[in-house]
Symmetry: C2
Subunit: 401 residues, 2 copies
Amino acid sequence: MTGIEPRPVPRALVGSVIDASTALLAEQSHDVVRFAMGAPGEDLIPVADLDAAFARAGTGRYDYGETEGDTKLRREILRLTEEQGRRTSDERILVTTGGMQGLDLAFKLSVDAGDLVIVEAPTYTNGNATALSYGAEVIAAPVDADGMIVEMLPELVERAGRPPAAIYTIPNFQNPSGVTLSRARRELLLELAERWGAVIIDDDPYGQLRFSGEDVPGLGDIAPDHPLVFQVRTFSKTVAPGLRTGWIDVEPRLRALAVNAKQAMDTCTSVPVQRAVADYLESGAQRAHLERLRPIYRERKEAMQAALARHLGDRVEFTDPDGGFFLWATLRGEYAGIDTEQMFAEAVRRGVAYIPGPAFTVDGSMRDAFRLCFATSSPARIEEGVSRLAGTLEAQLEPAR
Amino acid sequence: MTGIEPRPVPRALVGSVIDASTALLAEQSHDVVRFAMGAPGEDLIPVADLDAAFARAGTGRYDYGETEGDTKLRREILRLTEEQGRRTSDERILVTTGGMQGLDLAFKLSVDAGDLVIVEAPTYTNGNATALSYGAEVIAAPVDADGMIVEMLPELVERAGRPPAAIYTIPNFQNPSGVTLSRARRELLLELAERWGAVIIDDDPYGQLRFSGEDVPGLGDIAPDHPLVFQVRTFSKTVAPGLRTGWIDVEPRLRALAVNAKQAMDTCTSVPVQRAVADYLESGAQRAHLERLRPIYRERKEAMQAALARHLGDRVEFTDPDGGFFLWATLRGEYAGIDTEQMFAEAVRRGVAYIPGPAFTVDGSMRDAFRLCFATSSPARIEEGVSRLAGTLEAQLEPAR
């Protein structure tokens, strides 16, 4: 074996300092107000209906299932999509183990090592992390009140010297900012993606949770025949996150590749869970559930905004989402220099968890910002959490005084 | 945008012509004897116990769970491992969405594009496919009655001109051949892996299903402090495949990277499923279940060997596994030229499914071999299936006569 040297130990994967796992653990501590995880409140999960659905899961529920997804669940997904006035077909649908696996598939199929990927700034941590895990070079386009500033993409691409392989967007009630991509920008994004031959990874966990304003047509609805819109969907926010069930809706040739890839990722999504979700959807209970959720989430958002204004005044600026789960808050004035990542442990000690800004950036920037999830807690609990947050912020200034 | 050209459409992923999905669909057809999928028989899944376990899943069962895995399930995995007289610790365990996700993690963490990976010939299709999906250059070491011929590895590596990043083995009752890696070869494998700094991906779905012969110590037991033995485990064969629940047992530093990676793969394994598996294990029912399974699988293996000998005589040669699910059969004599992949559709038409040899090779070879799963069907049904297989083989010769 002369001349053959041991290779270095495996490369490290990218992960934020304070990630979802840290946040989840923090939220499980005693009396911590849960502003960190993007999870529906326990009171907003249809527990009894799901239990009943599990009990009706049927023959073969513990055997392997088709990689494509349970037949009845695929049928229910088609029905749901058509109810929303949208076009799709069975050969475009693949059931996934949550929306996260849909994202993993999207990046696996559209990115080779060294490829350029454009994400939003700020963006969903694990979208970015997945792109990096496939060796992408990730650059970020800033977001304003109308979503990703798509007009800036040509300049970013020109500077990078090559077209992107994929553009990753969360068009509705973006994670983490809560903003929605405007119709005009959606059209421009589709045009640019076509010009560059780039896949648009369209991640939409919150689209069904609009509580104010008017629907903006989806990317896949504006251009139903665009071959490169990779739609990633999930039941995590509209039914329950612990199920880990979602789907992708993509051009059939890409879907066939995704089926192959998923076979080597987890073979198929848990069969009893797929059966239970299918049964729950078939029962018709989801429509009433969504109608119940929307005004509750609106009330919670408004409670959070009111509490932020009351406790922090002009030392914080925050977004005004028309749906979804999240507010994005940026520190201003005398709080502008505070590092939200450094502050995290103290916040948890005082009984409130959030996710610091740098977890949502490519370069560790946005240290003076944070994401607040208003979906998990009641208005009274939100008031308590924001009050604790205000106390934590105030304490940050003390050493300097 | 002058000078910037659209990139080509996304690369194709590798997949065998007749894969698990095709086989599964075939087996769901009317009256097809199931020799293809590596699935326990429906009569060998503890359906009532699992139903009861799902009904006891507890508070928070539909919420996000820790990426590391449900606390109680991790505790039960530790207990199981210790009961087997093996060393491990909580900081080495990560619950996965089936053994397949464990493999996906193993290759994701040990392989960069262009790296060399050694697999067995024949090997498990989706192990190979996963290595390729991370850009590995895959070479294969042949298997004999004592498992992978480890003595050949130095020559293979010398020829490749560089050490492997990973060596993928299924040491017990190998998929697809049924053979078991001998103790001496395990020791040599550990020594070579250490010399090369290569990760050993130790995939052991069947180890608990030994029905004859004597246990061979596991790679992780021979060298408990070897930092690069990546142990992939699953409940698919010992409880039920449709659950999609398994775990990895690896050195803590590697486990921390795996937790990060899994967060961007599916966030966490389905929580109600993890709770149900934990409850099932805690009930103590699994020990009796395994004791029930072993003699049944032995009986089924012997039924299959007897039927093959009776119907095919010396026109087929097959392995003699001491456990697990599979026989590997190779055509001989006047059947030696038959292509098992070409024959597949006709076999299904005649009511029997299997997986053709080329699905288990890197280069599409072994066309005159196939994998037979004896675990799914009763002895009477096995007799019927082998009889149909014999009819199919005989019919292949007709055009030539």
